[in-house]
């Protein structure tokens, strides 16, 4: 009951922040509300016993990504009333609706329980009976770390490679532009 109350509190905060992102006219305020909703997401992860993902959510999305978004929002022409003259409003609404339908379809039809138990059974489970044991939730970080360095090693390394490639690409573009400017 106690946990339920906190869950509903965080949900209300999350939903209201998400709505404020959409409906506030000031783009900079939207960026700030985005950061707050990211914090609420992190609280959700904490309640699902995924502490590591929650903490990384704060570190990456609140500490870095929303700062970058807030910085880039400063380049918008009319920050105070920019949503009024948004020409792409209907296109973006349509695309958002399509994504909403697709995601809700996926969530409803996905066999969550089977998926989680299949992962637990296939990987070499690190705890004795981790299918039903709540200890798996407390030790989730440990479990995640070992899984990343064993079963999902290739995927983990590939994601690192993609990040490195995007970094080098960004640097190359910047260098190109700087060379052009100096000429």
């Amino acid at each position: 009951m106690f946990i339920d109350a906190i869950f509903y509190l965080v949900s209300i905060l999350l939903i209201s922040n998400s709505l404020l992102i959409l409906f506030s006219k000031n783009v900079y305020r939207s960026a700030v509300f985005l950061a707050f909703s990211m914090l609420c997401f992190a609280a959700m992860y904490f309640m699902l016993s995924a502490e590591f993902i929650g903490v990384i959510q704060i570190l990456v999305y609140v500490g870095a990504v929303s700062v970058l978004i807030a910085l880039s929002v400063m380049l918008v022409k009319d920050i105070e009333k920019s949503t009024d003259n948004n020409r792409l409003l209907y296109y973006s609404a349509a695309i958002g609706l399509i994504f909403l339908i697709l995601i809700s379809f996926f969530i409803i039809n996905f066999k969550w329980n089977e998926f989680s138990s299949s992962i637990l059974n296939n990987s070499n489970c690190l705890l004795s009976n981790c299918g039903t044991d709540p200890a798996i939730l407390i030790e989730s970080t440990n479990w995640l770390g070992k899984l990343i360095t064993t079963d999902f090693m290739v995927a983990f390394q590939l994601s690192g490679l993609i990040l490195l490639a995007s970094l080098i690409g960004a640097l190359a573009l910047l260098r190109l532009r700087m060379n052009n400017d100096s000429k």
Binding site: F2, Y28, V55, I58, V67, E139
Partner: protein, 405 residues
């Protein structure tokens, strides 16, 4: 109720409130009155009590730090420092706090009112969240979360958003420039800070702060000096303290992102900064000075407190003696110096831990010697590369290119 019940101080109070069966062994006096079915009431009462204690202890700590800092800097600069209010000027910070609270609260006309108010709050609240997770003694901690090290890094990264919000919401050019500079600096120094913390995690084999303390047979400051130095410099920058206080450089940027803040809103920024210094010192003690560990004839809490005051004194010493760096010097120190040094530290540690996963006494000594050799050699090489040419030709050329004269 999960891992929070590991904590002795939490369990002690909880068991004197709740009639839970598992509690009877902890209870000293039989005064419990809340039935087991209403355990959430006793849980919240205990939690609120300890939150109250921690918040107020942090505030008193800030007052003590302001007094200590001003006295110590006075000593460093061969003057008296505050000495009028109370014995040794002890009530000066109290008078300061009262003065700040009763000042007029001015809001600039061009400011974005909502974000203007939210920014100082976002600066202070995350810092409070660091204090409960630090192990102050063998049993004295409020909660031991399993991802403590990453949690600390994540919570300290929130203040960059607050700085940017404050800079933008003031509607003032100096504030925006100050805010952007501060964010560039904070984001750059988060990277060497995180990587050197990875060195601590590699040695400890655990992300929880208790695990980090338990693993340190040799304190990490001696065991991995390279990681310690990079972490210390990076956290000084994260705290906006001098020599990295470019964000509030009065002579260059008025007062950076805080230009338009007055009264208690300014007081909150001030409070957040000083509280972050205290919290950061506690983190450095936990990571690099083996936390509460020490010879057992003195209680562990006293050991922690002594080391804590020592690290705070190091920060004050930095502030009193080092001149302020320019923004380009700050950025090149982060990206050309500390980033590589922390990577070298992690590489060397990871290689050695891969060879000896569970080092014994003599192996630990060999590892320490190797770490010191790597530390001295790499600091010497990077010092040679990064130090400005003493004849002065190089500096002049570069400053002409960037238009910095």
């Amino acid at each position: 109720m999960g891992p929070i019940r590991d904590s002795f101080i939490f369990e002690f109070l909880y068991c004197h409130l709740s009639l839970e069966a598992s509690c009877s062994s902890v209870r000293i006096i039989n005064i419990a009155f809340i039935p087991e079915s209403l355990s959430w009431i006793s849980f919240s009462l205990t939690a609120f009590f300890w939150i109250f204690v921690f918040v107020n202890a942090a505030l008193i700590g800030v007052l003590a730090l302001i007094w200590g800092e001003r006295r110590l800097i006075g000593k460093f600069q061969a003057r008296l420092g505050p000495n009028r209010w109370g014995p040794l000027g002890l009530f000066t910070p109290v008078a300061d706090a009262i003065k700040v609270m009763f000042k007029e609260d001015i809001e600039p006309t061009l400011s974005d009112k909502l974000i203007y108010v939210l920014a100082p709050i976002l600066m202070v609240v995350p810092v409070f969240m660091i204090f409960p997770i630090i192990p102050y003694g063998t049993k004295t901690f409020l909660t031991n979360i399993s991802v403590g090290v990453v949690f600390v890094l994540a919570i300290t990264s929130i203040n960059s958003l607050s700085v940017l919000m404050a800079g933008w919401a003031s509607g003032n050019r100096f504030a925006i420039i100050g805010g952007i500079r501060a964010v560039a600096m904070l984001l750059s120094y988060e990277i060497p800070m995180g990587i050197s913390a990875a060195g601590v995690v590699i040695v400890a084999g655990s992300l929880s702060l208790s695990g980090v303390v338990n693993s340190q047979v040799i304190p990490n400051a001696i065991f991995q000096p390279l990681g310690f130095i990079t972490f210390l410099i990076a956290s000084t920058a994260e705290l906006n303290r001098s020599p990295f206080d470019i964000t509030e450089a009065e002579s260059e940027l008025v007062a950076g992102y805080m230009t338009d803040y007055s009264s208690m809103k300014f007081g909150l920024f001030y409070l957040g900064e000083f509280m972050a210094t205290i919290a950061s010192s506690a983190i450095i003690v936990t990571f690099y000075f083996s936390g509460w560990r020490g010879p057992s004839f003195i209680p562990s809490e006293i050991w922690f407190l002594t080391k804590w005051i020592g690290v705070i004194a190091i920060f004050i010493w930095f502030r009193a003696t080092f001149p302020r760096l320019r923004i380009d010097q700050i950025m090149s120190l982060a990206w050309k110096g500390l980033f590589e040094l922390s990577l070298i530290n992690v590489l060397v540690l990871a290689l050695m831990i891969a060879i000896w996963p569970d080092p014994t006494g003599i192996q630990l000594l060999i590892m320490t010697v190797i770490n010191w050799i790597v530390f001295l050699v790499s600091v010497y090489i990077f010092g040679k590369i990064l130090s400005p040419n003493l004849t002065g030709n190089k500096i002049k050329k570069r400053s002409v290119i960037y238009g910095l004269d």
